[in-house]
């Protein structure tokens, strides 16, 4: 590893952390698409800011572009308030228009602006180490590193200072307002941080991939925990992990670093989406299947309790009358046997003492509509789950 490589990975990791923090709150506040809108609509701000400052890394340009981000949010909210269209349509109308203005401005002034559209979408992380920051003639490191470092520092300071306020207003806006935290200040504060971070990260990872770094780590973390602090730290680690592994993947493929980081984020999300212990798709599907079998079992037990006739309690009856397929009937029967709910004598099924108690209790709960109680009861009675 040479020093340029280390610097690139350092910048990518800092961008990932700086994005993951506001991203977590955006995901929790159901405003993920706002980050998409901001990342597009800061483009005209960057171009106009560049005309004024002539320096892509000037702090003034960052503030100017971030201000465009805030304007987007205000514009979306204004259109939404008029009631002419729904919120999502308002977002979808505002940012393409602003982004188009930015692209046209770049195209019309291609000779003056050292911005091309590819750089806008993808950033130029590979070139970041070549743009050095010189203080009094000494080289103190790449400019991008300093910019994102300062932004990250501000973000972390704000996060620590206003953690409680953010937490309360995210989960219970009404309570936050009644406690005296202004929802508007927190809302626009978060939007400002998101805008500034987007502009700062823009140089490194491009307009659209900022969105990936904001949303994907937070969404992945949200599938694994419901604790805000854990979610924040998980999101940060996922971001950094993808940033570093993405860099090496891009190095190996000789392709875009930003694209590769996003791909790593995608793979990570896919893994968690499928295999997360309680909220992953496989776990959810397994639970659904388990519940289906248990409902069938309950139906079966109720049927047994209601009928004393031998023919109604014959094993084959399950398939004929209740209209279950062979496999399902077998699963249910086996589950009931394993749990000592029934006994089978010469193909006649009868409830055991335990089965009888369970069924009576279950009927009680069904009549009183206390579905939650049935879940607790299953824990008491079942040795094996469906």
């Amino acid at each position: 590893m040479n020093s340029a490589q280390i610097e690139i990975q350092l910048i990518a990791s800092l961008v990932a952390i700086a994005c993951a923090i506001p991203g977590t709150f955006l995901v929790l506040r159901k405003m993920a698409m706002i980050s998409d809108a901001i990342s597009h609509s800061i483009l005209p701000g960057i171009v106009i800011g560049f005309f004024i400052t002539q320096d892509l890394n000037s702090p003034l340009l960052i503030l100017f572009a971030a201000f465009t981000g805030i304007i987007t949010v205000v514009l979306v909210e204004y259109i939404q308030k008029t009631g002419l269209v729904k919120e999502d349509t308002a977002i979808g109308l505002v940012f393409p228009a602003l982004f188009s203005i930015g692209v046209i401005l770049i195209a019309k002034n291609a000779n003056d602006v050292h911005l091309d559209v590819d750089a806008v979408l993808l950033g130029e992380l590979a070139f970041a180490p070549f743009d050095r920051l010189l203080i009094l003639g000494t080289d103190v490191g790449p400019k991008a590193l300093w910019i994102i470092g300062v932004i990250l520092l501000i973000t972390i300071t704000l996060l620590i200072a206003f953690f409680k306020e953010l937490k309360v207003s995210t989960f219970d806006a009404g309570l936050a307002a009644s406690l005296g935290f202004s929802p508007a200040i927190i809302h626009y504060g978060l939007m400002s941080v998101a805008s500034v971070t987007t502009v700062g990260a823009f140089d490194a990872v491009g307009a659209i991939l900022v969105v990936a770094l904001m949303i994907a780590p937070a969404a992945t973390a949200y599938l694994l925990t419901t604790d805000l602090k854990k979610m924040l730290s998980l999101a940060i680690s996922f971001g950094v992990l993808s940033a570093i592994s993405g860099y090496w993947f891009a190095h190996w493929l000789d392709a875009s670093i930003a694209g590769s980081i996003t791909t790593m984020l995608g793979l990570l999300f896919l893994l968690v989406y499928l295999f997360a212990p309680s909220k992953g798709v496989i776990a959810v599907m397994y639970r659904e299947k388990q519940k289906r079998t248990e409902v069938s079992l309950l139906t079966f037990l109720l049927h047994l309790k209601n009928h004393n006739e031998l023919e109604e309690r014959h094993v084959n009856h399950l398939r004929e009358h209740i209209n279950w397929q062979k496999v399902r009937a077998k699963t249910v029967l086996e589950l009931a046997l394993k749990n000592n709910m029934i006994v089978v004598n010469e193909s006649i099924v009868s409830l055991t003492q335990k089965g009888n108690t369970f069924t009576s209790k279950a009927i009680d709960y069904i009549i009183t509509n206390e579905d939650a109680q049935i879940e607790d009861m299953k824990d008491d009675f079942f040795l094996f789950r469906g």
Binding site: V27, K30, M31, A32, M33, S35, D36, H40, I79, T82, L84, V85, K86, D88, T89, I91, G92, L93, P96, A97, F99, S100, I101, V103, I104, A107, K108, A110, V117, L121, L122, I208, L209, V211, A212, I215, A216, A218, A219, Y222, L223, A250, L253, D254, A255, S256, A258, G259, S260, I261, T262, T263, L265, G266, F269, Y273, K279, G280, V281, V284
Partner: protein
């Protein structure tokens, strides 16, 4: 492309083969996206278009990697497949996990797009001369449309119209009352998948002209503009198609008459102008007329207040038309010279020098005004 005037462009449209093809192509595209966009907007799936169009990018790249050829139809087929995968994954995320739809949209949008960009940059490094020009799918280049592309668009549009007409009733029902549709015995899942698939198809068709990044606006803007002019679905779909077609044609004309300008951003800006105009000037919903109505209502209210105040004074006298000094009204908030003049015009009040008196009709109106208010309060 050579530089030309917009007027020159319109003269050339009817004679020049390339320009005619391009213009026809963007017009058809605008019409079909406008039509289907109406459904997306009304179903609150506005941002789905954004996610799908971004999600189509890796499909284009993979189709190119597999076939090694730049045949438009193959690439669009790849885009269609990856767009559909994206769409159904979004549904999967919303349905199976506790992540909300905005998170799901943002995730699929950015992850697919990032993966697509990775593949594109990977392809660019390949020693294959054929790869140049794949990035036109980012912002669209209408100039690359050829006759067969326009035919493809026309066929898809025809198909789409046919399906819309056949399933019009079902689409409409699903749009406005999904639960009721289900109870009527319609297969809502099928209708839902049908309309979503057509939206994906329309987006994919537009990738060559408008590009991945801005395609969603093509879907939304004409529909959002059309929504302001009507409350009828059929009219809205029709208007959206017209707005879309015009945005396509004007956008292409402007972009063709300038050098170095992708079509996508220009078409989107033209469509945004349509939206802005509709938001402001639509007679029933527009902001301008809403403001005018607000001012008029406020004035009416003040007029009523003055009249009611006069009524209160007149009531205390035996003769309702007993004259009173105008000065009496001076410290009343609803009163201005203008409102008094209006009351005179309406024949509610008579003026004599600096005295006013209520007429009979004026008194009765004021009395009724009062009873009407009290009954409304009850």
């Amino acid at each position: 492309m050579t530089k030309m005037d917009i007027t020159e462009y319109f003269q050339l449209v009817f004679t020049d083969y390339t320009l005619r093809t391009i213009t026809l192509g963007t017009a058809i595209l605008g019409a079909v996206t406008g039509m289907l966009g109406s459904f997306a907007v009304l179903r609150k799936q506005s941002l789905l278009g954004d996610a799908i169009s971004h999600a189509a990018l890796p499909g284009i790249a993979i189709a190119f990697l597999i076939t090694g050829a730049k045949d438009t139809n193959t690439l669009l087929l790849g885009a269609l497949v990856s767009g559909l995968i994206g769409t159904f994954w979004i549904r999967g995320i919303v349905k199976k996990t506790h992540l909300k739809s905005d998170t799901a949209l943002g995730l699929i949008l950015s992850l697919f797009f990032g993966f697509g960009m990775l593949l594109l940059t990977f392809i660019q490094k390949q020693p294959n001369a054929n790869q140049a020009g794949l990035d036109k799918y980012l912002f669209g280049q209408a100039a690359t449309l050829v006759e067969s592309d326009v035919w493809l668009m026309a066929i898809v549009t025809g198909l789409c119209l046919l399906v819309l007409l056949l399933f019009w009733k079902e689409f409409k029902l699903l749009l406005f009352d999904a639960d009721y549709t289900k109870t009527l015995g319609f297969n809502t899942k099928f209708i839902d998948i049908l309309i979503t698939s057509f939206i994906v198809l329309a987006i994919v068709l537009g990738l060559q002209t408008v590009g991945v990044v801005l395609m969603s606006a093509m879907l939304l803007a004409p529909a959002a503009a059309a929504r302001q002019w009507t409350n009828s679905l059929a009219t809205m779909v029709f208007l959206a198609a017209i707005f879309g077609a015009f945005s396509g044609v004007f956008g292409t004309a402007i972009s063709a008459s300038q050098t170095n300008l992708s079509t996508g951003p220009v078409i989107v800006l033209v469509a945004s102008v349509f939206v802005f105009f509709s938001f402001v000037f639509s007679p029933s919903r527009g902001l301008l007329f809403k403001q005018i109505r607000l001012i008029r209502n406020r004035r009416d209210l003040e007029l009523h207040k003055t009249l009611a105040f006069m009524h209160n004074i007149a009531e205390t006298h035996d003769d309702i038309s007993h004259p009173h000094a105008i000065k009496l009204l001076n410290n009343f908030q609803g009163y201005t010279r203008k409102t008094l003049q209006k009351l005179v015009e309406k024949d509610y009040v008579e003026l004599q020098a600096n005295m006013w008196s209520l007429t009979k009709t004026g008194f009765e109106t004021a009395a009724n005004l009062y009873t009407k208010q009290t009954t409304e309060d009850e």
